[in-house]
Symmetry: D2
Subunit: 144 residues, 4 copies
């Protein structure tokens, strides 16, 4: 599994009057990490959408457990990877770490999807090369 890691400082605008991260913000953090993980294949988000004729990776399910509060200015690290591959769905795991401790753990179950007339969404099989690139821990399998 290819794991994407990024560092983040918790921002003022991500926090609520209790001084801790307003919880929907963690899902925005997950979403950005997912995008950056996919970009590690060598194809940026817009290019990947154009190449494969998809609108993106809409959510089927998402969830998170909040283990430690994160405060303004906290330095955190996010680790993300695709843990489970289905035919047109896949499940990402995200861990937000404060030092060595897990602050938030979560998942996103998404589908590889084209748009559909009448404003719907049509699941498509995830291309094997995409699965391969995101399954290679070395990050050397690239899309072009």
């Amino acid at each position: 599994m290819l794991v994407h890691r990024r560092k983040l400082r918790i921002e003022w605008g991500q926090c609520d009057p209790a001084g801790i991260v307003f919880y929907p913000q963690y899902f925005i953090i997950f979403d950005v990490s997912t995008a950056q993980l996919f970009e590690r294949t060598g194809l940026a988000g817009a290019a990947m959408r154009a190449k494969y004729g998809i609108i993106g990776f809409p959510l089927v399910e998402a969830g998170a457990r909040y283990l430690l509060p994160c405060h303004f200015d906290d330095a955190v690290e996010i680790e993300s990877g695709v843990e489970i591959w289905g035919r047109s769905s896949f499940t990402l795991r995200h861990r937000i770490l404060k030092g060595a401790n897990e602050a938030v753990v979560g998942f996103e179950k998404r589908i590889w999807a084209a748009g559909h007339p009448d404003r719907g969404i049509k699941p498509l099989p995830v291309p094997d090369e995409v699965k391969a690139a995101l399954s290679d821990a070395s990050g050397k399998t690239r899309l072009t």
Copy 2:
């Protein structure tokens, strides 16, 4: 169980380039519904925090399943209630409906919490009167 219902039009700024709601926005919708549900007891958010010496209801866990995409301008209804009461924790259920169909179903497990030196959070027992008010489907049990 007291159920809070509210209607919403999906806003432009809640949607992404695929024209559907950016999924973290649903958790913001949940959070607002939770606040409005608690306010149905007769105490607004700031007043409740002041009366009971709490910082709010921080999250322990949250999750959602996305059954139908919601688009810009869609009219939706949100139903919310506390389904499970623990000693200091409680679990809310939220349903977002497009007409008669569920679009999103989700939950928030929260704790009734005071602040704590060193920027932490300290769970407190949920007052019985709060449980009573939110358990009364008629909405007639009031806090003052």
Copy 3:
């Protein structure tokens, strides 16, 4: 000038660790008010975009002055209207009131715009009937 008024309670997630509204949130409030003002013509956002072949009303300029801080739970009222019409541009004024006092005053200068190949934006003349509907203080001039 047609003036749209709506009431709002300041939400937990709109506020920052100082307990006051995180200032970009006011522009989200403006944006929603603009959408609701335009909807007062009888055409919802998606229908208006479809009828006139526009992608929306992208911004040329925006600004706000912050006169009084708004806190969690504050009850505010927002007044919005188009104050200046250009050929393809128009300027909205927004006032956020706490009781009788102005808390925030701002403007949005927008254009009536179609999309354009190469991911650009193409200004179009604002239809006279749209100007007429939004200039009628009585709200009786309707689009269909």
Copy 4:
């Protein structure tokens, strides 16, 4: 003037159904750049608030002009600095660049402020050493 520069990729969740950045997001970008600029003095946001007894830098006024639309995946650079110093207020300039072209230019007029009973805000004089650090283009004048 100390100028802070940072690079950014436009994220999916920052964009609207027209595929361009939802305009309030630019003010979030400004806010983060301001925080990072101040941190260049050697004091992080929480440490600076603690040292000087301030709640932060609330806004008096803000504005932006939108010259070029930014789309999902666009690489942009943000330049930020304090251009004008008052006694307790100061004005930041922000430029968002796509390559060599300005996409957005904006400003934030803020005050150096303590909290105040009755949930208000009290302006304080900006310490000379803070002005000095943010006026030194070399970035070598540090707070401790």
